[in-house]
């Protein structure tokens, strides 16, 4: 352990004022000031907030519904956006396409009809929706409008059933970003509480909790997952089943965190300031949460920011192998199920675009975690 370096006052009144501020600031203020300096983390936070926002207002962001099928537009590559019409500038627009089957290659070819340009506009009227069951509207962020014969806009192309992958990606993020996050929060609450009790009090309580952890850790997850998936009520929708499984899994998944918390607390409870708090008559809960936990916030942040993308990936992976979400539910994993075959790889690569969302989310969480860790660690400057 390195000794905390005490900031040496520098010369000049401005500098003194700044140092004063550092001396009197709360821990969270310190973290915030430091975090602000980490540009990548700040940008990532903004993007992540946008991503979550777009998931909440997916009905608005997506041009079409998640289950809306376009007949005759199946397996269409991403729509080509044109800028020039008949040799002159027209603005971004698309042309209606006609699907034909090539008798030789058996592939679908989409022939654009270049006589009817359709501009791409913002805030267009389209499929009516009821956002989160509250707001009724039919305004979509982007699209070509709902006039008759308007060629649809498929920014990421369409899948086998003729559904817009761009729209589906945003609807999928609702499930993919929320359910794993919920699971992680539950894991943290249980893990910190039980790990804290175990580490702080020790003795027989510690023994019992640790043996429970041993038992839970020895249960393999995938068979458990399969068993749970078939044990839950059948009439539940896939989303509900998945939520239930996530909750149950986080109830059994807190063990790793509890172990780490216990170890840290065993160490920190011997520190002088703990003794001081005890002498001052602080309650046990106050000592754990007020004095001991902040001592390893940086560690917690790192595991939190790692756990969220791991959990999102976990959902994607489980859905990918057919254990998690299943169609007609929409999640990133479900979207990527369509991409796990030779045809997708060789001839319909746009089916893999949703994987970019998974990668992006993972990266954003990592960058934010990196920034937070640096900011929260009391031993670095």
């Amino acid at each position: 352990m390195s000794t905390p370096s005490i900031p040496m006052p520098s010369t000049g009144p401005a500098a003194v004022e700044k140092e004063d501020r550092t001396f009197y600031a709360t821990q969270w203020q310190l973290i915030w000031w430091k975090f602000r300096k980490h540009k990548l983390a700040v940008v990532s936070s903004v993007l992540l907030v946008l991503l979550y926002l777009s998931a909440i207002v997916a009905d608005f962001v997506a041009p079409y519904g998640a289950q809306q099928r376009f007949e005759g537009q199946q397996q269409q590559p991403p729509t080509v956006i044109y800028w020039m019409h008949k040799g002159s500038f027209y603005g971004p627009h698309v042309y209606p396409t006609k699907r034909k089957s090539d008798p030789k290659t058996f592939k679908f070819i989409f022939m654009p009809d270049e006589s009817k340009p359709m501009p791409i506009r913002f805030f267009v009227r389209g499929e009516p929706y009821q956002m989160l069951g509250l707001i009724k509207s039919d305004i979509h962020l982007i699209g070509t409008g709902n006039e008759k014969g308007a060629p649809p806009l498929f920014l990421f192309g369409t899948d086998r059933l003729g559904r817009d992958i761009f729209s589906r990606s945003f609807f999928a993020s609702r499930i993919s970003l929320s359910i794993p996050f919920l699971g992680i929060i539950l894991t943290f609450i249980i893990g910190l509480t039980l790990g804290g009790i175990s580490g702080y009090f020790g003795g027989i309580l510690d023994e019992i909790i640790q043996r429970i952890i041993d038992f839970i850790q020895s249960v393999p997850t995938i068979p458990l997952w399969i068993a749970l998936a078939s044990a839950l009520p059948r009439e539940w929708s896939t989303e509900k089943t998945f939520l239930a499984i996530t909750v149950i899994l986080s109830i059994v998944g807190w063990t790793g965190l509890a172990r780490v918390t216990r170890g840290k607390l065993l160490q920190l409870r011997e520190e002088d300031y703990t003794l001081a708090a005890q002498c001052a008559g602080a309650s046990e809960a106050r000592i754990i949460f007020r004095h001991l936990l902040p001592g390893f916030t940086s560690h917690l942040i790192v595991s939190l920011t790692n756990a969220v993308p791991a959990s999102i990936l976990g959902e994607t992976a489980l859905s990918f192998i057919g254990l998690g979400m299943q169609p007609p539910a929409v999640s990133w994993g479900v979207l990527l199920q369509d991409a796990q075959n030779l045809v997708a790889i060789a001839q319909q690569p746009w089916l893999m675009i949703p994987s970019l969302f998974v990668i992006l989310t993972g990266l954003l969480f990592s960058f934010i975690g990196d920034g937070l860790r640096d900011a929260a660690d009391p031993y670095t400057r």
Partner: protein, 698 residues
């Protein structure tokens, strides 16, 4: 183009006259087709009458039993007459000729029966499906791939042999295969069968009626081996049908008689539903050593001990030692006496290899002993996608089971590079169907479910709510048709308005805010559709159907479940609705009866099969279906009664919609190396797969 169509017309007319006679003459008569046709007609008449006379004489001379004598006089032949082969001398593959030279094998004329099965144009695959059949040449290794351990579905089909056969595994033109010939008495109760004299098991032991007797008396009729006589061999293919009696006439002739007519037995003897010769013909000389009645008690005891079985468990040992047609891929069956074109030679985790059977009993029109191809090798890979990767890499010469329509553009792109052709043939299990289990009770809305699902109007409404043209376009790329035969024009039309009207009519009128129709408990009337995604088209169709149902206010929940769980729930009458494939006409129970009867209500089916001991008594309309199925099985395939029974079966399905078929006539892509000859151009994909012995490398 023109000349080839002329050619095929010519060949079809041959076929109409007589396949076998045409075959003998075709080679000598190439180039003067018109003359040939006349000769053929003449020849056939002579040959047929001669044959019938011969048989009558033979039987009368031997004076077997008076009854038989009477029957023989009214016998009708259903097979083309057997003619003498046109070739002078039998020929064999070079690899076998070497073994003969080395003294390891007897010469070819001692291995092939006196009257072998002669393969020519239109014999294994109908003329119209393979108009340019040609004699092949020896050699080569046919490569394939599979994804489950010790199970190469393609080589199983290729190897399997039935007692009788029909070209292209179709419904008509049943003729001898392992059995040389058969004759049905006019009353349809008695069938005479003849074995091929000189036919040998793959270990060189002759095949005789002792093998049939052993199978019948000591296996099928032995309660320790077979708890009950298989329903397939009872009249009408019913569990409560009548059993046959077998009479052995001499070494190569036997007779099967039923107390009532059972014309469908001929179909049962063909390859349909993959029934192989092992159902009625087993190597007695080999199996007797494991049969309590014949085995030396001391030796049997030792064998049982070795297999770690109790002294009274000889049936278990017997079944472990016996290889059925299903077992051709099993390593334990290496060296087992059999009659297949290729025999499993070695099997390890990565590949199955087969080698030609030196005692195979089919020859071509030039006297070449079949098969042409020396070896079959199938590599085991991780999954179906990996099988297809091997196709794209040009490492597969033949593939059926693991292909998919959705991959056709991918195959096409790699056709030339990898050296194969994609052949689009017909699928025998083509009709994906929506099964509504009308006897399902495990739901809070059980009373509603029974009331509505058992109403044919409800089923019709659901059928009309399905957007079939979209499914055909999206899932089958246009290579499928509306199910006009079994659903009918009216019910297979996409008409949500008519569907809504029907649903209103039967009382599902109350709707919630989202437009979902409500059950009597005030909650949305919900149908839980659980499927096991057994085939690649089932999951997306289920998804589309689920969405289509919501459009007419039926809240259909679509879920994919584990196939094993699916099987358990289905057996326990615990599936409300599902999506599964059904069989094409004539395959697997005829007119798709098996699925239609078995899946309308699981408890009804249990009642029928247990003869009332379990399940729930089926309604009258379903019992009518069982009667129609029995009538179909009773008629002789191809006869006018049979045609009528077939049409009645379709009409019954259209009127009652026991299951809701989605499509019919689905195409199936197959992969065949560009170097392969005698590859069919149309017909069932399994028909081409089945005709492996006539494939050759050009």
């Amino acid at each position: 183009m023109n000349s080839s169509s002329q050619k095929s017309r010519r060949v079809i007319s041959f076929y109409a006259v007589s396949m076998m006679a045409a075959m003998t003459l075709l080679l000598s008569a190439c180039g003067q087709p018109q003359v040939v046709e006349k000769i053929v007609e003449k020849e056939v008449k002579v040959e047929v009458t001669k044959e019938v006379e011969k048989v009558v004489e033979k039987v009368v001379e031997k004076e077997v039993i008076k009854e038989v004598e009477k029957k023989v006089e009214v016998i009708v032949t259903a097979t083309p007459a057997v003619v003498k082969p046109a070739f002078e001398k039998l020929q064999e593959a070079p690899m076998l000729a070497e073994k003969v030279k080395a003294g390891a094998l007897p010469p070819v004329d001692q291995r092939v029966p006196k009257d072998p099965f002669i393969v020519g144009p239109g014999v294994i695959v109908a003329d119209m499906d393979l108009p340019d059949w040609q004699p092949g040449k020896y050699g080569g290794t046919l490569r394939s791939a599979h994804s489950s351990a010790n199970w190469s579905p393609d080589f199983f089909v290729m190897d399997n042999e039935g007692l009788l056969m029909a070209p292209g595994i179709s419904t008509e033109g049943v003729r001898g295969n392992v059995l040389k010939d058969f004759k049905v008495s006019e009353d349809g109760k008695t069938i005479m069968f003849a074995l091929r004299e000189g036919m040998k098991w793959s270990d060189g032991t002759p095949v005789t009626t002792e093998d049939v007797r052993f199978t019948y008396e000591d296996m099928l009729k032995n309660p320790e081996l077979f708890k009950s006589f298989p329903a397939r061999w009872k009249t009408g293919a019913k569990p409560d049908g009548q059993e046959p009696t077998i009479k052995i006439i001499d070494l190569f002739n036997f007779e099967m008689s039923y107390p009532e007519a059972y014309g469908g037995i001929l179909r049962q003897f063909t390859i349909e539903s993959w029934v192989g010769y092992t159902e009625w013909l087993n190597p007695a000389h080999y199996l007797k050593q494991f049969h309590k009645k014949y085995a030396d008690p001391a030796k049997l005891e030792a064998l049982l001990k070795e297999a770690k079985l109790k002294p009274d468990e000889w049936p278990a040992l017997f079944n472990q030692k016996r290889c059925q047609n299903w077992d051709v891929n099993q390593p334990r069956c290496i060296g087992y006496p059999s009659l297949y074109p290729w025999l499993l030679a070695s099997s390890d985790n990565s590949q199955l290899s087969f080698e030609r059977n030196p005692y195979y009993w089919k020859v071509d029109t030039q006297g070449q002993q079949l098969p042409y191809i020396d070896r079959l090798v199938s590599a085991q890979v991780q999954d179906v996608e990996a099988v297809n990767l091997k196709v794209l890499a040009g490492e597969v010469d033949f593939l059926r089971e693991s292909t998919a329509l959705v991959k056709v553009p991918l195959y096409k792109e790699n056709e030339d590079k990898a050296g194969f052709n994609v052949v689009l043939l017909d699928m025998h299990v083509d009709s994906s169907a929506l099964f509504l289990n009308q006897t399902f009770t495990n739901t809070e809305q059980a009373a509603d479910w029974a009331k509505y699902s058992q109403d044919v109007k409800f089923r019709k409404a659901l059928s009309m709510a399905i957007n079939r043209p979209e499914i055909i376009d999206t899932i089958y790329f246009g290579f499928a048709a509306l199910p006009l035969k079994d659903v009918g024009e009216e019910s297979s039309k996409y008409d949500p308005d008519a569907a809504n009207k029907l649903l209103d009519e039967i009382g599902l009128t109350n709707k919630d805010a989202e437009g979902m129709r409500l059950g009597s408990d005030g909650k949305p009337f919900t149908i839980l559709l659980e499927h096991g995604a057994h085939a690649p088209d089932l999951a997306p169709i289920a998804e589309i159907v689920g969405e289509d149902m919501k459009k007419v206010g039926i809240n259909m929940q679509v879920k994919k479940i584990d196939p094993t769980l699916w099987g358990t729930r289905r057996g326990n009458n615990d599936l409300e609705a599902t999506m599964f494939w059904t069989h094409d006409q004539g395959w697997g129970g005829g007119v798709g009866f098996n699925e239609a009867l078995g899946s309308a209500g699981t408890a009804w089916d249990q009642y029928y099969n247990s003869q009332g001991k379990a399940g729930v008594q089926p309604p009258d309309w379903l019992m009518k279906g069982y009667e129609l199925k029995a009538a179909w099985w009773t008629a002789v395939p191809g006869s006018p009664e049979w045609q009528k029974a077939t049409e009645d079966g379709h009409a019954w399905q259209r009127d009652n919609l026991p299951i809701i078929k989605i499509v019919e006539g689905v195409k199936y892509p197959m992969i065949a190396s560009k170097k392969l000859g005698n590859v069919a151009k149309s017909g069932f994909a399994i028909g081409l797969n089945f005709a492996g012995e006539q494939l050759f490398f050009k």
